[in-house]
């Protein structure tokens, strides 16, 4: 009995943690290079979710194609927002970038409300996602295992790209010291665009599994993954990619423990506790659990 509870807890933490790790990774890719906390990141996810809704409801495309187009549309929005809104701010103040990303987020939210609907839309989910799987004597929907597997695969691919390709080395160099990287011949526009494209790609993957869990898409849905990403990124360390992954899993662990231990009357205050932890981290341990290359200035 106890073992079963433990396994259930472990699967919950691992599957939620995998999703949160992807969310945090998408945020930290952009932050690492541009030092921008991208408030519009949640809307990249919303775009993916809406595309899944439209393709799932109005077309009969096979699921892999639907997912692919969903991910590609998130990538497109990420790349376009970089091109239109963020590129003019190269080498300008950090606050200007931050306010711009906030404004982009507001614009996209209002466009969804105007163009689609202020109410939530039910997103169809492939049947195999919710198929129950027997594992260690407990049943869990397949999507929980799928997200863990996909996260592992994605992390492996990203690790290979970042470690062994020229592009990856250039990106790591740019996030460590942008000026020196440029002096070494790293093209600034390319590196920043790729960071936004990877961020959009991860947002697209997150959109699939997020809507599979909630079953709906709405204009303001980007807010909660964004907040989760913030917390995970801060806990893990804002300047390191592995830190974001660790932060995602640690966040899932803390959130699950709080859900189990907090009395129901206090459960609605869970977010307040989580963000109080974030503030404590920023004040006491601003480099996070995994120390990256902390630096104050921002360039680009």
């Amino acid at each position: 009995m106890n073992a079963q509870i433990f396994f259930e807890f472990a699967i919950n933490v691992l599957s939620m943690g995998s999703l949160y790790a992807l969310i945090a990774l998408g945020l930290v890719f952009v932050f690492g290079i541009c030092k921008l906390i991208n408030f519009a990141y949640g809307e990249f996810i919303t775009v993916g979710a809406y595309v899944l809704y439209f393709l799932g409801v109005f077309t009969s495309l096979p699921w892999p194609l639907v997912f692919l187009i969903g991910i590609l549309s998130s990538v497109a929005v990420g790349y376009l927002s970089e091109l239109v809104a963020f590129r003019p701010f190269r080498g300008r103040s950090l606050d200007a970038l931050l306010v711009t990303s906030f404004a982009v987020s507001v614009i996209l939210q209002r466009l969804f409300q105007l163009g689609i609907s202020p109410r939530s839309k039910a997103v169809p989910v492939p049947a195999f996602f919710n198929m129950n799987i027997e594992l260690f004597g407990l049943t869990t929907p397949l999507r929980n295992l799928l997200i863990i597997a996909i996260t592992v695969v994605l992390l492996l691919i990203l690790t290979v790209i970042m470690k062994y390709t020229v592009l990856g080395v250039a990106m790591r160099g740019a996030s460590e010291n942008f000026v020196t990287a440029r002096l070494m011949g790293v093209p600034a526009n390319l590196v920043i665009s790729v960071a936004f494209i990877i961020s959009g790609f991860l947002a697209g993957v997150v959109a699939i599994f997020w809507t599979a869990r909630t079953g709906s898409a709405e204009p303001l849905m980007g807010m909660s993954p964004l907040l989760i990403g913030f917390i995970a990124v801060v806990i893990g360390g804002m300047h390191s990619l592995p830190g974001a992954v660790v932060g995602g899993y640690v966040y899932a662990l803390i959130a699950n423990i709080l859900s189990l231990t907090l009395p129901t009357s206090l459960l609605s205050f869970r977010d307040a506790v989580m963000f109080a932890i974030v503030i404590a981290f920023l004040v006491l341990k601003p480099e996070g659990l995994l120390r990256g290359n902390y630096q104050e200035e921002r360039v680009g």
Binding site: I37, D95, F102, A103, V106, I107, M238, A272, L282, V283
Partner: protein, 365 residues
Amino acid sequence: MNMKDFIKDLDFSRKSSTVVFLIAILVLIGAFIWWLNIPFIEDIFTNGTIMLIMVLGFQLFMGNSGILNWSYVGYVGIGAFASAIFSMTPALKALQIPTMYPFLISLHLPFPLALIAGALVAMIVAALVAWPLMRLSDSVGAITQFALLIVINVLLSQWSQVTNGPRTFTLGGTRLTSFWLVLGVAVLVIILVYCYKESSLGLKLRATRDDRYAARSSGINFVAVRYVAYVASAGIGGLAGGLYSHYILSITAASFYLNELFLLLSMLVIGGSMSVSGAFFGTLLVTLLRQGLRQVELFLYKTGFEASGSAEIVVAIILIAFLIWRPNGITGGRELTWQSIKRMLPIASEKKDPISNNLKKEEKA
């Protein structure tokens, strides 16, 4: 701050002309609208002036310190709820919010004192949490303030025994915030915020914004200077929140969250966050713009086209455009002074500029 030196420093023609101009513009607009006596326009003016007080408080910390202060709108919320709890009669509170703690139900203050008490509550909360946060700048500082806003918002929206939780908090009774009260408070706040900016404390804070290392090596205590401004800013926010809640008469925690913050931020940035005049003209411009767009929205709605929310899109695009092409806002981070007005008038500038005058004389000769 040495009060005597400060008063001696006030060179009327140069420095304090800003205050005189801003107050004169505000009072003239107010008097004109009062004379028009159209309730619809009076309502817009009162709302706009409450926003102005909020933006001025926002400018006090954010403009002078350069830290993006996301949590500000949370203090506006705290002030709004706190002053409402103080001003409502116990019987009314027991009726409207039955879940409230008994000791809060028994509290009662007359309206002006309740407003001040609301501002004080916001200041106390700020004073309790802010000290360790003032060490952080840049992106870490911005995320911390953002996290603080979410903590405040969760508390406001979930604490049923104080704020009625996620349900609407209805004040009941009559509208206590009047046209002239708001105008009077706005005049006082303009004076306060401007005097703060020109005081030695304000100068120190602006120095920390402009060059962190030079300021520090000049012996400025970063944390203390920021702390004072942060708490003062929260106080003005709380006061504005109190005026707001006694004007709108029904509030929820959602009224003091990202939408409201976006509005304040766009007003301050479009006007120019580094000056009091920027806060003033930014509020004026964005208020006019939004009211105009709202009329367009209403017109479109009548012709059968749903366009609510398009005003925010336009404001957001203008905000981004300003950040790209004129990052210091319409005022360019400067104050409106007698000098700057003279410079704008071609006749006056001729008299002032001896070199070009001499050149012209020579040309004539």
